[in-house]
Symmetry: C2
Amino acid sequence: MKKIINNPENVVDEMLNGLVKGYPNKVKRLENTNVIARYDKKESKVGIISGGGSGHEPAHAGYVGYGMLDCAVCGEVFTSPTPDQILEAIKEANSGKGVFMVVKNYTGDVLNFDMAKELAEAEDIDVDYIIVNDDVAVEDSEFTSGRRGIAGTVFFHKVLGAMAEEGKSLEEIKKEAEKLVKSIRSMGMAIKPCVQPQVGKESFHLEENEMEIGIGIHGEAGIRKEEIKPANEITKELADTILEEFDNLDEVCVMVNGMGQTPLMELYIVNNFLNDYLKDKNIKIYKSYVGNYMTSIDMAGYSITIFKVEDQEKKYLDAKADTVFLKEI
Amino acid sequence: MKKIINNPENVVDEMLNGLVKGYPNKVKRLENTNVIARYDKKESKVGIISGGGSGHEPAHAGYVGYGMLDCAVCGEVFTSPTPDQILEAIKEANSGKGVFMVVKNYTGDVLNFDMAKELAEAEDIDVDYIIVNDDVAVEDSEFTSGRRGIAGTVFFHKVLGAMAEEGKSLEEIKKEAEKLVKSIRSMGMAIKPCVQPQVGKESFHLEENEMEIGIGIHGEAGIRKEEIKPANEITKELADTILEEFDNLDEVCVMVNGMGQTPLMELYIVNNFLNDYLKDKNIKIYKSYVGNYMTSIDMAGYSITIFKVEDQEKKYLDAKADTVFLKEI
């Protein structure tokens, strides 16, 4: 294992401190927790929180700030945060209007966020949540019952965060979240697996000429291995699989998301094909997001997300945000 | 070679098209060139351009936009753009107040940008430039006479771009650029070399336990190989080498720059140490930049940049920018 770290046991702690020291005017770490919170807590709005295992940077702590998340709860690498940590985030994000949680569909996350909801309700805090399951590659997998939540989650942060900033209620946010679940679909691939710092070896094996289609973001293998193809052919397969999920598509946002080790050059090459491919099908592209939005440590690969948008979503995607990683102006 | 591409010969062309298709409201590609220009050309200001070989994404095309560059000239991978391409960028960026060029110190770039200056002057366009040589690792190298220009270049784009937006003259911008040359120092390391698409093999070799100190951004080897150490020890060495270059440091900006394949997790771990280390020396940190700002395709490693700032630099660093990759609000 070759990594630029100190001690594999301390990566999350040092990473969170390095983030907060780098951006002290934007984020803070709640004492004795792995919760990253907005430095300027805004009162009188629904709190929006997310979280999950670490290793997906910039998700989710990079999306804490004005117009997106109030808190991110950071578990150990690929490990769900505990209910007591999530409860701390709920308390911090609460300003009397309730807290909404964006939860990726992994068994551990779903259990722990749900338990935290119960703990918070016992303290008279209104809490609701959505389970994000945008990955069309698999129905069930190593860590999940049902479809997994992957990079499309970032669109939930942006749209719901902007709604909360505008003063929308917990009920209105939940209703939009349920719409987003039906509007956002993703699928990914890898040419190199990731290595968890505490494990020290590859999470699956690929030969020099092989790629893996349908990977998740926790080092789990995908649906099949095959010989690596040109970028356009791979992108066509991912896009076709996603497009089958939608009845009709008028206008979309697309995300080409790097898995951590993929050069921007390759992501733009993917976007070059994807953009033309959708336009050839008379699908309008409202906005593109090309970069590392939700990674899997040092996996090499990418995912595509297609997000069916209407006026409401476009408005909130364009709303001002000011986080460490994502800004819209 | 494992890459998500179509044809190694077309990577730059497809990448530039993928960028412009993704962000059509921000950037455009000048016809029959590899020049990326602002979509909304602003009149009546000094034009700011930069460029060089491709493979350093998001540099430089990701910094084209309001408050930074007017044009980026993109050569083939690790290959200087030709004078006629640079001339096209100069013409596009010119609105009668002259054009200032930010040139990294590589022999090919220096020759070609200087030749483009002469061609532009023959067409009555005022042109001046600065040679960025922030890398303290080596005095001369494979591609350069004198010190190389690396990630610190991005600070030139930000400060000089903001000055131009504010209406400063070519002379004022040149004067500040000369101050920046003395204020910005960088040094990098790698645990894995990069692979150029058209070459197909590693640019140097490292054993499983080795790292390379003092690497450049064109796949050239560094100053020495040694056994990989903990992140804090490596960071201390890089920081100490840089700090020796400054007489006294009151306040700085720091950049922890990933080389393309380095997870954000590792960059934050580096920043965690670097931040404490500078504070222990009573150096104030005005602002931190942690991410992939100037890469070397898929090299794994990082560089540190220390930028001595005074009020003028702080003001321009905080000024509004709106580019594909960097925004300040």
